[in-house]
Each structure stands twice: as C-alpha cells, then as structure tokens.
C-alpha cells in the first residue's frame, strides 16, 4: 500500500516531463539531412587489391626484363655460386 502511494505520487509528479513534438521533428529532420556514410573498404577487398598490384608489378618486371637484369639468369647465378 505504501509503495502504491509512492508510485502514484511519483507518476503524478513526472507526468509533466514529456518529449516535445519539436524535438521529435528535429530528430527526423536531422536524419534526412545526414549524409550517407561511405562504406568502409573491407579487409578482404584491401588484400585483393594488394594481391592484384603485386601480380601486376611482377608481371611488368618479367615482361620488361627488369627481373632478369636485377636477379640475373639462372646460369649466371649458378656460375657465381660455383
């Protein structure tokens, strides 16, 4: 019984506190105004890009003879080792 009286009194006192209509409308306006967030790149996508870049670099180096120039031909390499 005591708790009920307390509950009722608290309710009566707090009922005046309300979320105003203009605040609700402000939230809705803000949502509409908010720019679409750009989707972040996923880790998988970043790895895929990195792999493609490495493959292209290696391919370009092989095609232009740059790799052979830097490493040398297998025969020369074995001569140097011997």
């Amino acid at each position: 019984m005591h708790e009920d009286a307390f509950r009722q009194a608290l309710r009566q006192r707090l009922d005046g506190v309300r979320f105003p209509e203009e605040s609700r409308l402000q939230v809705l306006t803000q949502i509409k105004r908010e720019p679409k967030v750009k989707k972040k790149l996923s880790l998988g996508l970043i790895l895929a890009f990195a792999l493609i870049l490495i493959t292209l670099t290696v391919l370009a180096a092989t095609q232009t003879g740059l790799l052979q120039y830097l490493v040398g031909s297998p025969e020369k390499a074995s001569q140097r080792a011997g």
Binding site: F6, R7, L10, R13, D15, R18, V27
Partner: protein, 167 residues
C-alpha cells in the same frame, strides 16, 4: 518516409516521454535531457537492425539503455561537472494534475538520492519494470539491483516519511 525512419518515428512517439523522464532524473535538467533523448534516438536509428525480431518490452529496455548511456556521456563531460546541478523547486517540471502540497516535493526528494539509487527507483516505481528487466536495462546483476532498491527504499522512508505515514 522510408521504413527505418517510420520505425524511429513510432519509437519516438511510443517511448519518447519515458526516455525524457529517465534522462531528466539522470541529468536534472530538462533542456539537457531533451538533447540527450534526441541523441539517444539518433544512435538508435543507426542500430535499428539490431532490434528487428525483439518484442516491445525488450525494445523499450534497449532504448532506455541507450538513453542511460547517452546521459552517462553527458555527465562525464567537463562542462557538466563544472555546472551546479543542485535542484531548486523552479527547475522541477509542472505537475500534470494538481497534487497535495506535501506530495509536491516528492520528486525533489527522489532527485536528492544518489544517481544509482535514483535509476532503480524510477525503473521500478515509474516504469514498473520487473527486477530482471531493470537489472538488464542498467547492466547490473540482480543482486546489485536488489541492494540498490533496498537502500533507496530505506533512504526514502526516512526522507519521505510524510507520504508513507499519510498514505
């Protein structure tokens, strides 16, 4: 209006007042509580997918949790800590219905309780939440919830003896 916006609008109409009361009890400032509730709804909007399958009681608890966390952020701000937060009678909201004079300072008495006890009182006696739901909303154990509730009840019995004895 797209579905997500429509859903948020529904939540604001259904639970805006509840969130306002909780934020007010938390922050002791109507305007600040208004800002906090707006922020809470904006946060909720970005997480609406999380509650697709939940029932209304769980949605309400989820929203209250967001509002409480938003209020905590507000309270942590340096500005908030510098401002004098003692409540004066003029700062209390207008009562919806005329009440007896001895009951008019009830809210003031509740507001003087430590924050952790205030929350428990509000969720229990105003929101009529079950102990499980209140504990879950406040992210505390049931044992902590009961401890706080008993302490708050004890303190209110001392401070609010008039209402209890008159009831």
């Amino acid at each position: 209006m797209e579905d997500k916006t429509r859903e948020l609008d529904r939540l604001m109409r259904a639970y805006g007042d509840d969130l306002m009361r909780i934020s007010f009890v938390y922050l002791k400032d109507l305007h600040l509580a208004q800002d906090a509730v707006q922020d809470a709804f904006l946060k909720a909007y970005n997480k609406l997918e999380d509650i697709r399958e939940r029932d209304e009681a769980a949605i309400k608890s989820w929203l209250i949790r967001i509002a409480v966390n938003t209020c905590k952020d507000y309270r942590r701000s340096a500005w908030f800590r510098r401002v004098d937060r003692r409540l004066t009678p003029e700062m209390l909201p207008e009562v919806a219905a005329p009440s007896q004079e001895d009951k008019s300072d009830l809210l003031d008495t509740v507001m003087r309780l430590p924050l952790a006890l205030r929350q428990v009182i509000l969720l229990t006696y105003y929101e009529n939440m079950s102990p499980e739901m209140a504990a879950q909303t406040l992210q505390i154990s049931r044992a902590s919830y009961y401890r706080r509730l008993n302490k708050a009840r004890g303190m209110l019995r001392i401070n609010a003896e008039r209402w209890y004895s008159n009831a």
